[in-house]
């Protein structure tokens, strides 16, 4: 159950990187100066850090520590 859920989450996250719906536009601007294609990906980067925190919490390869 856990592996399919992890694979699906990562795949969805990968798809969110391809934000074709923002392609030809600059607005809305974040803080009145950051174009949408930039702030979306800045937020995406922060979301990636949160995803990594979740993966470290629930998918940590604990077996590697025990094998030492």
């Amino acid at each position: 159950m856990k592996t399919p859920l992890v694979v699906t989450t990562i795949a969805l996250f990968y798809l969110l990187h391809q934000d074709w719906w923002h392609w030809p536009v600059a607005r809305p601007l974040a803080f009145s100066f950051l174009p949408v294609g930039l702030w979306y990906h800045a937020l995406y980067t922060l979301a990636a850090a949160l995803l990594m925190a979740a993966l470290v919490r629930w998918c940590w390869p604990a077996g590697l520590e025990r094998e030492k």
Partner: protein, 499 residues
């Protein structure tokens, strides 16, 4: 000239760090090449990130954004924010475990042990080494450019490159991995800390963030740089394959072996995207904003050339030109040192190449047994000198376009080698013949890529996409048809508890 003096002071500091690390060394090969597998969590994060971020990250990203706009961030940074930490979490930890349990120092040693092969490992070494050299050359070019621009031409390119090459060579020579890791950690703190200061000061000098963006939007020549309308979606998709190269870079793979405990990967995996954001967002924004800085004569000439030809122009120095124009002299000096910090990431690559040569060639073919461990370290140091000299003289004769070209084919080649790491560490059924097939394919396709015209695509995708997919298919298909390593070896790498 004053900013260049700050950079020279910075070079003296990193040299001192390398010599200080030398005093802590114990004269063993594992200590010289892997810092005795003793790096703590923060040094591990900062040094691994610092060694991954090269001149490409600061000078290259702002230059690319100057020509192509905000798409640069999504192409390089946010795709890496997902792919690189995943590689570290699922492959890097397994590399660490294999290295620690079996006393191995390089990826090729792990491949030889895992697949019970000898000369196939030598072939993989040759390919990895050939792909790494352009990266080292890039560091020297970046160093020479930085010192030359910051000193207003007072320090010529050849002297700037020579100074950087000598300093890097010295602290790698003396300090080995410990010196390199400490210097990288120091450098990462410096360039992360000064990135935000740079974007703030330069934007204020140009009239503020809001005014800069509005001017860019109102100018028909630059408005498209704030969208991605001129960039193909398939190319954007293809670029997400490039960060796979991270785990196959020898300097990153070897860095994975330096952690004291596997739990030290946790902080690196989580904070890696944050570090990427802090360095790439300011660089990309400033690169785009540079199109409005037409009061800087060198930038105005580039903007005119771009408009006249409709083609990209060399833009790797735009960040430095902005710094020289808009930041106070002393701040420009500190920021120049921060930029130099990123540019000098070639240290870990030189050390990685030296480690690979001494372990995968010198020791494997009997040198360590015949001449002893001291001779092995001496060979490693001699190799550091030779590689640095070669990189310096190549950089002197390299054209700027090679910067981009080399990165392109090095990224594609290493990304296509990533399936070897996955197969070796995550799949019991992989064989040396599968590895050989993929290695030969990657070598042949990288040579072809180098010879083909720039911008060559297959069905709209950059070559890295088919190269990686075919390489993965070859490892898988050929492994299914060929004999496996002994059961004892497979059991060592995949003990029942870990399956």
């Amino acid at each position: 000239m004053i900013p260049a003096l700050f950079v020279l002071a910075y070079l003296a500091i990193v040299l001192y760090i390398g010599i200080f690390a030398f005093r802590r060394s114990r004269g063993q090969s594992e200590d010289f090449f892997l810092a005795g597998r003793s790096l703590g969590p923060w040094v591990f994060l900062l040094s691994l990130f610092g060694s991954h971020m090269t001149a490409f990250a600061i000078l290259g990203s702002s230059g690319h954004a100057f020509n192509f706009g905000i798409v640069t961030y999504g192409l390089m940074a946010s795709s890496s924010a997902l792919v690189v930490p995943l590689c570290l979490l699922f492959i890097g930890t397994r590399l660490w475990s294999a290295g620690k349990r079996f006393g191995l120092i390089t990826p090729v040693q792990i491949f030889r042990d895992r697949w019970e092969c000898g000369h196939i490992g030598t072939l993989i070494f040759c390919l990895q080494a050939a792909l790494l050299v352009p990266y080292i050359v890039i560091g020297v070019i970046g160093g020479g450019t930085t010192l030359s621009v910051l000193s207003g031409g007072w320090i010529p390119f050849w002297l700037g490159g020579l100074l950087v090459a000598l300093v890097v060579m010295s602290y790698v020579f003396f300090g080995g991995m410990r010196g390199t890791a400490w210097v990288n950690a120091f450098q990462t703190v410096l360039f992360l800390g000064f990135g935000a200061v740079a974007v703030s000061l330069i934007s204020q000098g140009m009239g503020g963030f809001v005014a800069v963006t509005e001017r860019l939007l109102q100018n028909p020549r630059t408005a498209s740089l704030l969208t991605r309308e001129n960039f193909s979606l398939t190319t954007f998709l293809g670029y997400t394959f490039n960060p796979l190269s991270a785990i196959a870079f020898p300097h990153i793979a070897i860095f994975c072996l330096t952690a004291r405990k596997v739990t030290q990967f946790k902080r690196t995996v989580i904070f890696y995207p944050v570090c990427l954001l802090l360095i790439w967002l300011p660089c990309v924004y400033l690169g785009v904003a540079a199109n409005q800085a037409t009061d800087v004569p060198a930038i105005a000439a580039k903007v005119e050339a771009k408009a006249a030809t409709g083609r990209p122009v060399p833009g790797d120095d735009v960040m430095l030109l902005l710094l020289g124009r808009y930041a106070p002299v002393w701040v420009a000096g500190l920021l120049g040192a921060g930029i130099m910090a990123a540019v000098m990431a070639s240290d870990s690559q030189i050390l990685a190449l030296s480690t690979m040569f001494t372990e995968d060639i010198f020791a494997f073919y009997g040198g360590k047994q015949r001449f002893g461990e001291t001779a092995q370290i001496a060979t490693g140091r001699l190799f550091v000198v030779l590689v640095t000299a070669f990189a310096y003289f190549t950089a002197l004769n390299a054209k700027v376009a090679i910067f981009d070209l080399a990165v392109q084919y090095a990224f594609a080649g290493y990304a296509a080698m990533a399936p070897l790491f996955v197969a070796a560490l995550c799949w019991r059924g992989s064989t040396k013949w599968g590895a050989l097939a993929a290695t030969l394919f990657v070598a042949a396709s990288t040579v072809a890529l180098y010879l083909l015209p720039r911008g060559f695509t297959i069905a709209g995708f950059a070559p890295v996409v088919p190269m990686t997919l075919i390489s993965a298919a070859l490892v898988w298909g050929v492994s299914l048809l060929t004999p496996k390593p002994s059961a004892a070896t497979i059991e060592r790498y995949f003990p029942p508890a870990s399956v």
